[in-house]
Symmetry: C2
Subunit: 326 residues, 2 copies
C-alpha cells in the first residue's frame, strides 16, 4: 500500500480511503486506479490466487442449496477453498441423484481438480463413478465404503437423544424417519433410536416407525399417521428438526401437551429450534466444520497427486442441545 | 435408451433399472456400462451441456451462502444456469464488500462469461468495477444506477406492512433497521415505513429507529434499546424476520403481550415465521424467482454480445403474509 501511495503520489491514507470506498477527489482516485493497474496490486487474500497462479476449480455437488444444513456445509467448504486458492463450481441437483451422476460425468471433461459430493444415496452407478472418476472425490455427509469422506455421528446422536427421552420415563416410542437409502439420515438414526431402546430393556421392534420427506409438512402428515396407529405414543424422535416442527404442531392440534404428554426431539439443530414453542431438544451437527474438513481432505489428495496413501474417513461428533421439548 | 438396450443386448427394463440404481446381475451391468461408454449416452439434461459443448462459467458472488434468502436466490440462479448449459462459480464473501471487489477482479483473468453479484453496498470502487468489467454483470437484490439488476419492492413491502399496523390503531411506531448503506434492506424499508406514517397523518420524524445486524441476537438487543427510549411503543416494523424474532422475544420478556400490547412485523418471509409464537406477519419476497430472473437477464446479455440494448432493471413485487403478530 505504501508502494501504491508512492507511485500514485498520494498519501497512504488516500489509498486506504480509496480501498475502503471513502470519498476522494476524482483526480486522486484516477491516479490510484492507474497505480493499481500498473502494479497489479490486489488488496485481498482471495486475489492472491491470481498472483500465485494456482487457481483451480473444485466441483461441489449438493442436493439442495437452499437447505439450512447444505448451505452451512457449502459455507465451510468455500471458506477453505478460497483460502487455498481454489474456486468452487457449484452444482445443485435439486434432490435428483440422477443429476449427481450427470454432474460427475460433466466434470470429467471440464478442468476440475477434484469434487466434493454431498451425497444422499449410493446406487451401483454412484459406486462405479466414485471408483472410476479421473479426479479425486470426497463425500460429505455419508460414509461410503472405500471412499474418502466426512460424515456425522448420526447413530450416536439419535441414540443419546433417545436415552434422554427414556430417562424421562417414556416407554411407548415413535420414530419419524426418512428414506433409508439415505444411510446417514435414514438408517443410522433409526438404528440409534433402537440401540437406546435395547440398552434400556425396551423391545426395539416395538418402535412405531413412519417415514416422511425432509420438511415440516411431511412431519405434520407423518405424525397424524403415527397417532392413528399408536395413539398412546409418549416419546417421538424425528430424523430432522423440520420434521419435528411439523410433528409438534400435529400433536398440539390433537390436544397433547408438550412436553407433559409427549416428548419430541429432532436432529440437526436448525437455528429456529430455539424460537419455536416448546423450544426443541435436538443434536447439533457441525455442518460448517464438515464442509471445511471435506475441502481440506480433498485438497490434501489433490496436492499430493501420485502419492498414494490410506483413505481417510472422518466422523464428526455431535452435541445434544437440551431445551424444553422432551 | 432403446439403442442402449440393443447394443448391450439386454431389455429396456434392465437399462432403466441400471440408470435408476436398481439391482441387476454383474454381467448385465457390465454390458450396459460398456454400451454407455461406447455411445456416450448421457441420461440427463445437465449432461447435454457436454454434448452441445456450450458449457461456460458464470460467477455468482454472494454475501453469505448460509443465509436463507441468499441460498434461495442461489437455488434459482443455478437452476436457470444449468438448464442453459452454464456452470456456476460460487464466491462466498462472508459479508466482506472488499471480497466482492477481489472476486470481481479475480474473474477478470478467469474465463467467466458473466457475473451475478448479490450486492449489499455500492462503494465508488464497486461503481468503477461495474462500469469497467470486461464481462457483463447483473446485480441481484439492489437497484444500482445504470446497471442491469433484479431487486425487490422493499419500499412497498415496508409501507404496506406499516399500513396494516396503523390500521390496528397503533400510533407509537418503532423501526428496527439495518445499515442504510444497504439501500434495499436499510434505506428503502425505513422510507416505506415513514411513507405509510405520512399517508395516515402520523409524523414520520417521530419514528423511533434503532439499527441491528441481520440476526436474531441483533433484534433482541435493538428491541431492548427501543424499549428504553420509547417504552410506550405499540407497533414495531423490523427490517428482517430474524430481527423480528429477536424483538418479539425481548418484548415478551419485558412483559408485553403480543399482539395485544404491541404489533410486530418482519420482512422476507423466513420459513420459520409460520412456527414461531405468535406466527409472524411479514412480506414474502420471491427470492428463488429473483435468482432465476437475474440469471436469465445475464444470459440474454451474454448471448447477445455485441448487440447493445437498453439496460434492464426489474423490480419484483411482494406478497404480505398476514398471520398473528400485528
Amino acid at each position: 500500500m505504501k508502494e501504491l501511495a508512492r507511485i500514485a503520489n498520494v498519501s497512504s491514507a488516500a489509498v486506504s480511503r480509496y480501498l475502503n470506498g471513502g470519498s476522494l477527489s476524482q483526480e486522486k482516485r484516477e491516479r490510484i486506479r492507474a497505480a493499481i493497474e500498473e502494479t497489479g496490486y490486489q488488496p485481498d487474500t482471495v486475489a492472491q490466487m491470481l498472483r500465485t497462479g494456482t487457481t483451480d476449480h473444485i466441483g461441489l455437488i449438493v442436493p439442495k442449496i437452499s437447505s439450512d444444513a447444505v448451505s452451512r456445509v457449502t459455507a465451510g467448504a468455500t471458506r477453505v477453498l478460497s483460502e487455498k486458492g481454489y474456486l468452487c463450481l457449484l452444482a445443485n441437483t435439486e434432490n435428483d441423484p440422477e443429476k449427481e451422476l450427470a454432474y460427475l460425468g460433466l466434470f470429467q471433461s471440464r478442468p476440475v481438480a477434484g469434487v466434493i459430493l454431498m451425497a444422499t444415496v449410493l446406487t451401483p452407478r454412484h459406486e462405479e463413478m466414485l471408483q472410476n472418476a479421473p479426479f479425486p472425490i470426497v463425500v460429505a455427509g455419508q460414509q461410503f465404503r472405500q471412499v474418502p469422506c466426512v460424515y456425522h455421528d448420526d447413530f450416536g446422536a439419535a441414540q443419546e437423544l433417545t436415552n434422554r427421552i427414556i430417562a424421562r420415563g417414556r416407554k411407548k416410542l415413535g420414530y419419524i424417519g426418512v428414506i433409508e437409502q439415505d444411510v446417514a439420515a435414514g438408517l443410522n438414526r433409526r438404528r440409534g433410536v433402537q440401540a437406546a431402546m435395547k440398552e434400556h430393556g425396551l423391545d426395539p421392534s416395538a418402535l412405531a416407525v413412519v417415514n416422511s420427506p425432509f420438511n415440516v409438512a411431511g412431519g405434520r402428515a407423518a405424525m397424524k399417521k403415527l397417532l392413528e396407529t399408536t395413539p398412546d405414543v409418549d416419546g417421538v424422535i424425528c430424523a430432522t428438526d423440520l420434521i419435528a416442527f411439523g410433528a409438534m404442531e400435529t400433536l398440539r392440534q390433537a390436544g397433547r401437551s408438550l412436553p407433559e404428554d409427549v416428548s419430541v426431539a429432532g436432529v440437526g439443530d436448525s437455528w429456529a429450534g430455539e424460537y419455536i414453542t416448546p423450544h426443541l431438544t435436538t443434536a447439533h451437527f457441525y455442518y460448517e466444520k464438515s464442509g471445511e474438513t471435506a475441502a481440506r481432505l480433498l485438497l490434501d489428495i489433490v496436492e499430493n497427486k501420485g502419492e498414494p496413501g490410506p483413505i481417510h474417513q472422518t466422523m464428526l461428533g455431535y452435541t445434544v442441545i437440551e431445551r424444553e421439548s422432551i
